[in-house]
């Protein structure tokens, strides 16, 4: 006969605590400083790691179970997509420019985030925080791998994907995202969490993912949609981690406020610069457009960001310093960047093109105060030159901003006819910036940003300005991966294959 002892009924929170933070203990053979050597130097004060509120409380067994289910669904779909030549469902192979940029510039960032979160999962002093960061490290490697796998089939049929590993550390535009992640990883653990966990994964994530994934859905890219929605479910956990990080830091000590605010200002600005690629994508690269970059910013930036900063106001946090300037630039940045990408298409492992009349009418309707005034005339001029056989192409780049590493194509706040340019003299060298935001970031930590490896100066210092040698070095095949979409192998092949699949010729 078994004697039943009444077991305590443990709630979710209690049980989770027993299964996570109760695993840790106060060490006696080494000091906490020896075991966690990086948590003090940033000046952030933590008095009680136990006050950390666990975000989503997932035990490892539940993690394995639910993630496996997501994985099964994901790979079943991308296998079907590949088997059925799913790429023929694309509206137009022009769309793949967005996916090429994604694989070349964003996927490496996922992997970098994975390494960063692994380090956070070890260097923070509280078990709850460690576990949440470790799960994110696992998730980010999932994202890096599922992206490569989803896009792998496109590599078999289209150009521009094949050298993504080679161009990662060498080509110019990937440096925008790469320097962003290197910056976060070389920062201390608390800044890393504000940079990636909060600013990127909370404030800005919807601005990156929802446009890309909706863009994929609208343009028949089942593989990317599947990746996006599968990964996004992980993102919800990341968002709660990011939000908890900032609340925890702010609640632990009022002295943390100015440090955190400075980081929010910096990372909002760096994040918006990285997102300029997304803006150009939404407004120009999607044959079937979802919404304009401006509309996306209104929903996910202004509305959502507004709600967030109103909520954080009780801690003394204010909206990021550059918010108004960034909001004002939304009407301009996508046009300015895509014009740049068009003229520099010699040096991009993706195609550019001139927007069609329909495209331009859409842009007019979405940007009623700016497109027809500032940008349509430029495109019309470009069209004219193209028709005359002298396309508007440049075989050099504008100088790159020392901080964000974008070419300095953006204009002065309030004057879209004047390129925005700033300079700082530091230890006998002159440094160039695209904006006050980037200049401020440099001036706060000059010893860090003078280390930037700028890809276009490297063309001269390492390859003697030899463009052919540069192309070999970055894995770019001239006439194949670069240049205009019109007349490209991608265009010819896509049209040919679609014809094969839909007619009997």
């Amino acid at each position: 006969m078994d004697t039943q002892v009444t077991k305590k009924k443990l709630g979710l929170k209690e049980r989770y605590k027993l299964l996570t933070r109760d695993l840790g203990w106060e060490p006696t053979h080494h000091t906490r400083d020896e075991i966690y050597p990086y948590v003090k130097y940033e000046g952030i004060k933590i008095h009680d790691w136990d006050k950390w509120e666990d975000p989503f409380r997932l035990t490892m067994d539940a993690y394995w179970k639910y993630q496996a289910e997501k994985e099964r669904k994901f790979y079943a779909i991308i296998d079907a997509h590949a088997q059925n030549n799913g790429h023929l469902n694309l509206t137009d192979a022009r769309y793949l420019t967005a996916i090429k940029i994604f694989l070349q510039a964003i996927s490496p960032g996922e992997y970098a985030a994975s390494k960063g979160f692994a380090r956070m999962g070890r260097e923070f002093g509280g078990v709850g925080t460690q576990v949440a960061c470790q799960m994110q490290a696992l998730d980010e490697i999932r994202h890096a791998q599922t992206q490569i796998h989803a896009i792998s089939n496109y590599n078999k049929y289209y150009n521009g994907f094949h050298a993504f590993s080679d161009s990662r550390d060498r080509i110019w535009y990937t440096s925008v995202a790469r320097s962003f992640f290197d910056d976060a990883m070389s920062a201390g653990p608390f800044e890393f969490m504000i940079a990636i966990g909060f600013s990127f994964e909370y404030v800005l994530t919807n601005l990156l993912f929802v446009p890309f994934m909706s863009g994929a859905a609208y343009n028949g890219d089942m593989a990317t949609v599947t990746f996006g929605f599968s990964a996004q479910s992980d993102e919800a956990r990341h968002m709660t981690l990011g939000l908890e990080c900032i609340k925890f830091m702010l609640e632990q000590d009022p002295d943390n406020l100015p440090i955190v605010q400075r980081w929010i200002d910096k990372w909002f600005w760096r994040g918006m610069r990285v997102l300029s690629l997304v803006g150009a994508m939404m407004d120009y690269m999607l044959p079937k457009r979802v919404m304009s970059w401006k509309e996306a910013f209104d929903i996910y930036g202004v509305e959502n960001g507004g709600a967030l900063f109103n909520d954080l106001a009780r801690y003394g946090i204010t909206a990021p310093k550059g918010w108004d300037i960034a909001a004002g630039a939304i009407e301009h940045m996508s046009h300015q960047l895509f014009l740049g990408l068009y003229q520099w298409s010699f040096g991009t492992a993706f195609h550019g093109w001139i927007p069609s009349d329909d495209d331009m009418d859409w842009l007019s309707s979405k940007y009623p105060t700016t497109f027809d005034k500032y940008y349509r005339p430029r495109w019309e001029h470009i069209k004219k030159l193209e028709a005359e056989g002298t396309p508007f192409k440049n075989f050099g780049l504008a100088k790159l901003c020392q901080t964000c590493q974008l070419p300095t194509v953006f204009t002065e706040p309030g004057d879209p006819t004047l390129t925005c340019h700033r300079e700082v003299d530091y230890k006998g060298e002159k440094y160039h910036f695209c904006s006050d935001g980037c200049k401020d970031i440099f001036e706060n930590e000059p010893e860090k940003y003078i280390q930037s490896w700028l890809p276009m100066p490297a063309l001269f210092s390492e390859l003697g300005g030899d463009i052919g040698a540069w192309m070999d070095w970055v894995g770019l095949r001239n006439g194949i991966d670069n240049g205009d979409y019109v007349g490209s192998q991608d265009q010819v092949n896509f049209d040919k294959w679609r014809g094969m699949a839909t007619s009997n010729k």
Partner: protein, 330 residues
């Protein structure tokens, strides 16, 4: 009836990505290859860490081990996120069924007080050792070089968190929250556990990722798992009629058998590359495994009493034989 499904046959332009062609030849690559090789930054890094300017963000020189190409440390299981998660989900299902079985049939209550006591005494404090392994493997993932090596360490770290949580659930099932409290007290102050805790805390300040790999995955787990889960749980408790415990720890047995292959492959490959590596690995393995045997002895005594010295001796001999097979002489 044979059904022939047809889709349009298109001519692929290429078989795989350039970097995989260079490594494996011009043919379709596996998903493991696509997800593991050359996706980590390798050159032209932007800034040195402010938390340690002596190292770069991705740095092969923070370990004494030297490899011409860190991607030689291929995981024989070829675990990438998908295959890892699916494997563990299947194991999780079995474990859930086992816990359910033990709980619904009241098998815990049927254990004699003596055997239940031994099981809890030996197992519950190990949830803290498992967390130590989680910390250490997380470190190796964070600071090690090359995805083929580091992703496997992250999986190892999360496995150890899973094991710590399974042990905790075992404690709740057989002894309620009091068992966890008692286990923590023992971990912190009972004499049998202090040498192991000291070992784990010393690991927490090792900053050479490869040495830490040896100290945790090779030396400590290489003795702890056979001693606790084979010799004590399967060998002793089950033979005495307490096989309910073995049901609750089956995951740990299966896990050790699987991960050992990976650990062996890493060491074997690194040792085979150079005399320098082999000598460093031998030094580390000797130092840490000698100590591991010492720290395990009082823990084994909690179950096996005067059989302990012999049992530990046998497992040490087995360990040495295993090391010899992979090129490490100690």
């Amino acid at each position: 009836m044979h059904i022939d499904l047809r889709t349009v046959a298109l001519e692929p332009q290429r078989n795989t990505f350039d970097h995989l062609v260079r490594r494996f030849g011009d043919k379709a690559a596996s998903r493991y290859q696509e997800g593991s090789y050359d996706i980590q930054a390798a050159e032209n890094l932007h800034y040195r860490p402010t938390w340690d300017p002596e190292q770069a963000l991705y740095d092969t020189s923070i370990t004494k081990i030297v490899l011409k190409d860190w991607y030689v440390l291929k995981d024989p299981r070829q675990f990438y996120y998908n295959t890892y998660t699916l494997a563990r989900a299947r194991q999780q299902d079995t474990t859930e069924a086992n816990f359910s079985f033990v709980e619904s049939r009241g098998l815990g209550a049927m254990l004699s007080e003596e055997l239940k006591s031994i099981a809890l005494n030996v197992l519950i404090p190990l949830r803290h050792a498992a967390w130590g392994s989680n910390m250490n493997n997380t470190f190796v993932c964070g600071y090690g070089y090359g995805t083929v090596f580091t992703q496997a360490c992250m999986y190892q770290a999360m496995d150890q968190l899973g094991i710590a949580q399974y042990i905790s659930r075992l404690g709740l099932l057989l002894g309620d929250t009091e068992a966890l409290t008692a286990g923590k007290e023992a971990w912190l102050s009972a004499p049998a556990w202090q040498p192991l805790r000291h070992y784990v805390e010393d690991c927490l300040v090792v900053r050479d990722p490869f040495e830490l790999f040896v100290a945790q995955n090779v030396a400590l787990d290489g003795l702890l798992y056979p001693l606790v889960y084979e010799r004590i749980v399967d060998g002793f408790l089950s033979s005495q009629g307490a096989s309910a415990v073995a049901m609750l720890t089956q995951f740990m047995n299966d896990w050790f058998d699987e991960t050992r292959k990976w650990v062996d492959a890493v060491i074997k490959t690194a040792a085979a590359e150079s005399d320098h590596n082999r000598e460093v690995l031998q030094q580390w393995t000797d130092k840490w495994s000698t100590r591991a045997a010492t720290v395990m002895l009082p823990i084994v005594k909690l179950a096996l009493g005067d059989q302990s010295e012999e049992t530990v001796g046998e497992e040490v001999a087995s360990f040495k034989a295993r090391m010899k097979k992979i090129g490490i002489e100690i």
